[in-house]
Symmetry: C2
Subunit: 157 residues, 2 copies
Amino acid sequence: MKLTTKGRYAVTAVLDLALHCEKGPVTLADIAERQKLSLSYLEQLFSKLRKAEVVKAVRGPGGGYLLGSTTENISVSEIIDAVEEKVDATQCGGQGDCNKGMACLTHTLWQDLNDQVHGFLKGVSIASLMERSAVKQVALRQDAGPQDEPQIVTLED
Amino acid sequence: MKLTTKGRYAVTAVLDLALHCEKGPVTLADIAERQKLSLSYLEQLFSKLRKAEVVKAVRGPGGGYLLGSTTENISVSEIIDAVEEKVDATQCGGQGDCNKGMACLTHTLWQDLNDQVHGFLKGVSIASLMERSAVKQVALRQDAGPQDEPQIVTLED
DNA sequence: GAAAAGCTGAGTAATTTAGTTGGTTAAAAG
DNA sequence: CTTTTAACCAACTAAATTACTCAGCTTTTC
């Protein structure tokens, strides 16, 4: 498991999708615009996300992407797994015999560590991220105090 | 926070150091040999680790590196922080106002997520990794059954 | 059948990772 | 006090990954 900006882009994009797809498919062009990413890069990421069934595509005019599952059932780890190449941590093919056992043990350890991080991120759903988002926006609105044009929580652009 | 092979190399190297420094300083050449890494790359990593006081250097013949603290007090997150560049996730300088609030919220979320992973890895010490290592070796020995030259748990090369 | 979108692949620029080279200092040993 | 050992350091290069561009194709709606 890797954790880089690529994974962040993917999570951000899926979250953006989740926040906008209630009324129908969302185009990558829209997400690219909102998140300031290149359309083609998003296409590449979503190609992987679609193959991993994190998202669903709807082709043709009025088309775009929808979530492949409920927000509760999509975890951050799924998204990251879909887009990041898996680091093949083993030089020994999992035989446990590289470098007289020593090096292999240490990278088995790393694998364990990764598994733990993975397990942790598996427990974080898009739904929970959205909830935080809503909470944060409410918090921001409260910080700003009463206004003529309240920064409403609708989350539509 | 990033989580890449670079961080893995650093964790592996520090773990190797921890497993071998009981009888005195360990040279990078030894670690490079055991872990199959280039000496110069290790030098770069250890330069950062030393500045972060994860390790201590002893110069001259018979010199090498020692741990900067007890194995209980060195966490995986410290090691990774020392070697990986910090991803500046904010395009807005933390003002919370980039892209009309929306993008900024999502990357604040990412920041939160990172903080959680970070907190998690802060709880994993070198000591606990070593313990796992010892346990694993015992397990391996047991799997292999009784032997003439038992794969003893001494952990010295 | 034109337009809107997804889909695909080849290519490229920028960044990061990993390694190389060629030194210099500090300390120990002889 | 000279040699050796090993850390320290900086500039450079190579390889890999990330991010993007371009150019076209396919599916679906109007």
